[in-house]
């Protein structure tokens, strides 16, 4: 149940090996059910396990102003069971859940008032809620969904919400795939969002852990708010404290109905399973899910930035810096060039940032990566760095801009291009060494670029990148007016 709140030190290079990409194409078996659900199977016999991913092509970018944080909250709630799992008597439970909903609606409304909160009223409602929740607990079987999985040897049972998509993962011994099909199809058809308000408290704690008490999380949040004035990429994925307080079962259910529809679902199976068996079991359990249209709202375009934006965040921590330049969404022809630039700047110890900024003693770390905080929409090329005392944040900024100027003015040598290319290719194969890694990468491409075949297109495009391309992209995007900078300063 992880929120993918961007942690700046995570870098993912998605670059295929020439030879491997060809065989990948041969190994992927893809089909679509009548109801629109797509299924991707890759057979591998390293060990008798299967990595099973369910991708929902909806995430933070699909939220509206009244429901920020709902994609992540819903992801948490989908672990609470169904009409048959997690309950001893759903018929008796249902009216209780409705009463709990009504009490919390009043409670939240009161708490959300900016002034004039009636403390006595709140007290009575809280008492009422507590007693209803106690009664409710008598009817549930807590953790049944998870324990069904773990008892059968599941590993990696988890989910993550990003701005572009939501991903549900689990790995099982190869003889237990039917359990997954049963549980997951039941979850999609018959989920019950029980214990919402207790889980919401856990989400408050998650926010406290990842953002309010975490200098990097706090910095990222303010940075994104500043870079994306009125676009969903600028909203906290987990929601602000107020946003979370505004979440309720109704909103979660509506997000589910609008977005967890068959045309948005991709099932990915990697491991010890034949495509025929995989397709058969998916058809059997998921084929009857009713087709429904997605209700998507078009995200507003990212409003053009015409001058540098800067923001400072104070915290009891050492300085660090986030720098972002607006860039196009995944699929645009320049996106590939940004991948190469990311490699040139920060892949390995021979990269520019490492040699000239880290090894020179100015920075503790410095990385550059595109697709931040997502890539379905226009996004940022992000540079994250921290000064090494006694250097200061300004020194790091200066050093970074110096490297970006070099990219504009000095053509990269063919030798350097070839070396970086090879490096990031190999990092990609290594990431594919496990079933989980492979499933994860397929999901990432499906969720952001719309198809895993993007990997193959990429192969061709990368071969054609010239030193002139890199200069052109650097000159077009690494402009001061296109730049947002957030600096963490010591309180």
């Amino acid at each position: 149940m992880k929120v993918r709140i961007p942690v700046v030190v995570i870098l993912i290079f998605f670059f295929p090996l020439l030879i491997f990409a060809q065989s990948l194409e041969e190994r992927v078996v893809e089909q679509q059910l009548d109801n629109g659900i797509r299924v991707i199977v890759i057979e591998r016999h390293t060990i008798p396990t299967v990595a099973l991913n369910i991708l929902i092509k909806a995430g933070g970018i699909d939220e509206d102003d009244e429901s920020r944080g709902v994609a992540h909250m819903l992801e948490h709630m989908l672990f609470k069971g169904t009409k048959t799992i997690g309950t001893s008597d759903y018929e008796r439970e249902k009216p209780l859940l409705e009463r709990i909903e009504r009490v919390t609606e009043k409670l939240d409304a009161e708490r959300l008032k900016n002034e004039g909160q009636d403390e006595e009223f709140i007290g009575r409602l809280e008492a009422s809620l507590t007693s209803l929740q106690e009664e409710h607990r008598g009817l549930i079987v807590p953790g049944q969904y998870e324990s069904l999985y773990t008892r059968h040897g599941a590993r990696g049972l988890n989910a993550s919400t990003s701005r572009d998509y939501t991903l549900y993962t689990v790995s099982l011994p190869a003889n237990k795939v039917e359990l997954w099909a049963l549980l997951e199809s039941d979850r999609l058809k018959n989920n019950v969002l029980r214990e919402f308000y207790t889980e919401r408290n856990a989400v408050f704690e998650e926010r406290r852990m990842r953002v309010d008490n975490n200098p990097h999380g706090l910095l990222s949040e303010r940075f994104l708010q500043t870079a994306f004035a009125d676009h969903p990429y600028g909203y906290p994925l987990i929601g602000s404290e107020r946003d979370i307080l505004g979440l309720n079962v109704k909103k979660a259910r509506r997000f589910f109905e609008d977005h967890y529809v068959t045309e948005n679902i991709v099932i990915i199976m990697v491991g010890d399973i034949t495509p025929r068996d995989g397709m058969a079991i998916v058809e059997r359990y998921f084929g009857s899910i009713e087709k429904r249209a997605a209700r998507t709202i078009e995200a507003p375009p990212v409003s053009e930035q015409t001058a540098e934006r800067r923001v400072e965040v104070a915290f009891d921590a050492e300085p660090s810096v986030l720098i972002g330049y607006h860039k196009p969404a995944s699929g645009h022809e320049d996106d590939y060039i940004f991948d190469m630039i990311s490699g040139l700047l920060s892949a390995g110890r021979t990269s520019r940032f490492h040699k000239n900024i880290v090894q020179s003693g100015i920075a503790l770390y410095a990385y550059g990566t595109g697709g931040y905080p997502g890539s379905r929409g226009e996004n940022l090329f992000l540079i994250a760095a921290a000064p090494r005392h006694p250097a200061r944040a300004e020194d790091v900024e200066e050093a970074v801009y110096r490297e970006l100027e070099r990219l504009k003015n000095e053509p990269v040598s063919e030798k350097e291009l070839a070396r970086i290319h090879k490096l990031i290719e190999t990092q990609f194969i290594r990431a594919l060494e496990s079933n989980e890694g492979m499933a994860r990468h397929i999901a990432e491409y499906e969720g952001t670029a719309g198809s895993w075949r993007y990997i193959l297109q990429w192969k061709d495009r990368m071969k054609k990148i010239s030193p002139e391309d890199i200069q052109r992209v650097a000159r077009t995007y690494f402009m001061e007016e296109n730049r947002t900078v957030a600096v963490l300063v010591r309180k």
């Binding site: 491997f20 591998r44 390293t46 060990i47 008798p48 396990t49 672990f79 048959t84 607990r137 807590p142 953790g143 998870e146 324990s147 773990t150 008892r151 059968h152 040897g153 590993r155 049972l157 011994p173 190869a174 003889n175 237990k176 359990l179 049963l182 214990e195 207790t198 889980e199 919401r200 408290n201 856990a202 989400v203 408050f204 704690e205 998650e206 406290r208 008490n213 975490n214 200098p215 990097h216 009857s288 009891d316 921590a317 050492e318 390995g348 110890r349 021979t350 003693g361 503790l364 090494r388 005392h389 006694p390 070396r419 090879k422 490096l423 190999t426 194969i429 594919l432 060494e433 079933n435």
Partner: protein
């Protein structure tokens, strides 16, 4: 199509699983070698296990071994400058990394299959003849110092540091942590001493997996590892450990936060391969707080009450030289700090008082047994594990019989192990947070000692 089966009614075929076993040989120099072929991808991984770790660091040079390791990798060799090493490796898209734990170290070489010999040449040069070029070593020391300046940015790390230094003693090898002084005082002599102590043929074993032929690789390894003569340095003596447990002590680490980090526990098990408590403790911790969703701590603290997002427990079963620790943790808002700590203590105490119900026990044992297959998802891990198990003196059939031993654990054994090891009367509780906002005074839990998280990090300018 309607399916009428419930999850409990599903029938499963038995899992057929025979884990691959590495070829085991000894080089003429006596070095054990573990090889596992894997032709799916054109890659090669070599992991060398160094059978000593940072417990041997002098107490005024804490951090020496990781700095030595980083300096070996980035400081050049007798034949090549650091720049040449970096370029050569990255032109091959190969990596070499070295790291140390308390009891052992691992040096890893990863290359493409076509570059095995070239990669190995460079790897052996780094292991045998590091140059420790001055500027690179200084860089590493300064970076370590910077990391030390930043270490309180993660309250969990802060809690862990105070937990171990209090339990073992702040100068004891298990409780000591690098400081700016210990790191910046490291000299070239120190690096050379550490290198000679750790990297010699008596101290290592070799594991390899990937796209190679066993006989061919054996020959190459024989060739590369022969004639490696080093000084024989005496192993530094290790100090005794005093058990200083005395009631419930609360170490309060003052930091202005809206969420407290609670870490509680004590000394646990000193492992021997077939220690009679190892299996019941494994099952016990799985029930208490190891598994994210189905454990008791998760259930009581998060699921029932929403008091934390991050909560669980850990029981170290792999410390062989000194007893490892066990601990439970949670991160909760300031005004539920003491209530949460007390709830955790109650949940832990219950493990030692009430035997777990049979259904819960069976479910947990099943989960350990049925997920056992996942331990074999990487050939590199399989080869390394075999080497480590042999080095530690585990019987040859240990892995084969693991699930059988788990299945034999009883509820009474679990209760009894919890009772003996999870002593809630003699407990160390570390709380990182801001007590002005706490629900109750920490003295409700035990005897309070207050510490300043930055006391070991001077705010003056570093060299």
């Amino acid at each position: 199509m309607v399916f009428s089966k419930t999850a409990e009614e599903l029938d499963f075929d038995p899992l057929v699983f025979k884990p691959p076993v590495p070829l085991v040989r000894r080089l003429s120099t006596g070095i054990p070698v573990y090889l596992l072929e894997d032709h799916e991808l054109p890659l090669f991984t070599l992991k060398i296990l160094i059978t000593e770790g940072s417990l041997l660091e002098p107490s005024d040079k804490s951090g020496l071994f990781s700095i030595t390791a980083d300096s070996m990798r980035t400081g050049g060799t007798a034949l090549m400058s650091p720049e040449e090493v970096d370029y050569t490796l990255e032109s091959m898209a190969a990596t070499i990394e070295i790291g140390f734990d308390r009891e052992f170290g691992i040096a890893t070489l990863e290359t493409r299959a076509e570059d095995i010999e070239h990669g190995l040449d460079l790897f052996m040069e780094i292991l045998k003849n590091p140059a420790f070029r001055q500027d690179r070593v200084e860089l590493i020391k300064m970076r370590e110092a910077e990391n030390i300046r930043r270490r309180n940015e993660n309250p969990f790390n802060t809690a862990w540091r105070f937990f171990t230094s209090r339990l073992y003693g702040e100068h004891h090898p298990m409780g000591i942590h690098p400081s700016v002084d210990s790191v910046t005082s490291i000299s070239r002599d120190d690096l050379e001493w550490a290198h000679s102590l750790l990297f010699n043929p008596r101290n290592i074993l070799v594991t390899a997996s990937g796209d190679f032929e066993e006989e061919g690789l054996l020959e190459i390894l024989e060739n590369r590892f022969s004639g490696w003569n080093t000084n024989h340095l005496p192993r530094p003596p290790l100090p005794e450990l005093e058990d200083i447990s005395d009631g419930i002590t609360v170490v309060y680490v003052r930091k202005e936060l809206t969420q407290s980090t609670i870490l509680m526990g004590s000394l646990g098990l000193k492992r021997t391969p077939l220690h009679p408590d190892a299996f019941s403790l494994r099952v016990m911790n799985e029930i208490l707080g190891e598994s994210s969703f189905t454990s008791r701590l998760y259930r009581e603290v998060r699921e029932k009450r929403g008091l934390a997002y991050s909560v669980g427990s850990s029981f170290d079963l792999t410390s062989f030289i000194y007893p490892g620790t066990w601990f439970a943790y949670a991160q909760t808002r300031s005004d539920s700090t003491v209530a949460t700590a007390m709830l955790m203590i109650d949940t832990i105490r219950d493990m030692g008082e009430q035997p777990v119900p049979e259904t819960e026990l069976a479910s947990v044992k099943d989960s350990i047994i049925n997920s056992f297959v996942f331990g074999f998802d990487s050939r590199a891990t399989i080869a390394l594990r075999h080497g480590l198990l042999d080095f530690r003196g585990y019987p040859a059939d240990y892995l084969e019989r693991y699930t059988e031993r788990i299945s034999e654990v009883t509820a009474e054994e679990v209760r009894e192990a919890a009772y003996r090891y999870l002593d809630t009367q003699n407990l160390l509780v570390v709380v990182v947070g801001w007590d002005e906002d706490f629900d109750l005074p920490l003295s409700e839990i035990g005897n309070v000692i207050e510490v300043d998280p930055d006391e070991a990090v001077p705010s003056a300018v570093l060299p």
